[in-house]
Symmetry: C2
Subunit: 148 residues, 2 copies
């Protein structure tokens, strides 16, 4: 277990790397049946005639996996827990296919003390998810509330 | 099954309402164990000492449920399928607790023909998720690609 992180442990440009997660077909179909039941997420045969020519994972599953991988980075040691403050933007520039191996790179963009609550601050960071070909499959900008 | 929707079926201000989904404790804990394993998402007892005083659902599960409810609105009848174009912003103004009943309201913000591909257009809309007390638990702005 690493030491807890406080606001002065963060600097713009700092990176946090995650372990990887390989998405199985079963996992993709099971998630999509529960949450995103479109034919190109749940039916291998029908997906061949769909927008990507094969089955792709739900973008929300990519987001959930990204969350999971983020929680396995050093950033998760922020004191008090990883309390998110919403997302400024989320894009899925490429689809994720079953069998893909995903990893996440967090990069600190901005660190500032809160005006309203000076015992805390906000660390803004980008959260980029890559596949095994180092192609970006999701990008987001978010922030976390950090004690000083 | 309703008729397929094309670009000229959309107008700013138009609303699409979803059915509801009640989140069980089992569902909340199971999702969080897989994707967002923080103590206040997976451990009822420990969560009592956490930031919300009780167990709350992962914001990503709220997002996934929102996706599922969206797919059950009339908007899902868009011709060619509900191809998302990313999200401009996502916020979780209040936590979701096990037992909460969620519903989604989609409101069309903007409808425009694509310049680069004039056979299609983009419908931008807000996606707001409410609990059983009509409190907003998630808000997002997104867009969908729609054939003319």
């Amino acid at each position: 277990m690493s030491a807890e992180l406080y606001l002065n442990d963060f600097r713009p440009g700092q990176e946090f790397l995650s372990p990887t997660h390989t998405l199985s077909l079963e996992e993709a179909v099971s998630f999509a049946k529960q949450y995103d039941p479109q034919y190109y997420h749940i039916d291998v045969e029908a997906a061949k005639k769909g927008p990507y020519g094969r089955l792709i994972a739900s973008g929300w599953q990519t987001a959930a996996i990204t969350m999971k991988l983020k929680a396995a980075t050093e950033l998760a040691n922020v004191a008090g827990g990883l309390l998110g403050l919403g997302l400024e933007s989320v894009k899925w520039p490429r689809p994720v296919y079953p069998g893909d191996t995903l990893r996440v790179v967090l990069t600190v963009l901005d660190v500032r003390r809160s005006n309203s609550k000076p015992t805390h601050g906000v660390v803004k960071y980008s959260m980029d998810t890559y596949n095994q070909h180092d192609e970006k499959v999701m990008e987001a900008v978010t922030a976390v509330w950090v004690p000083c």
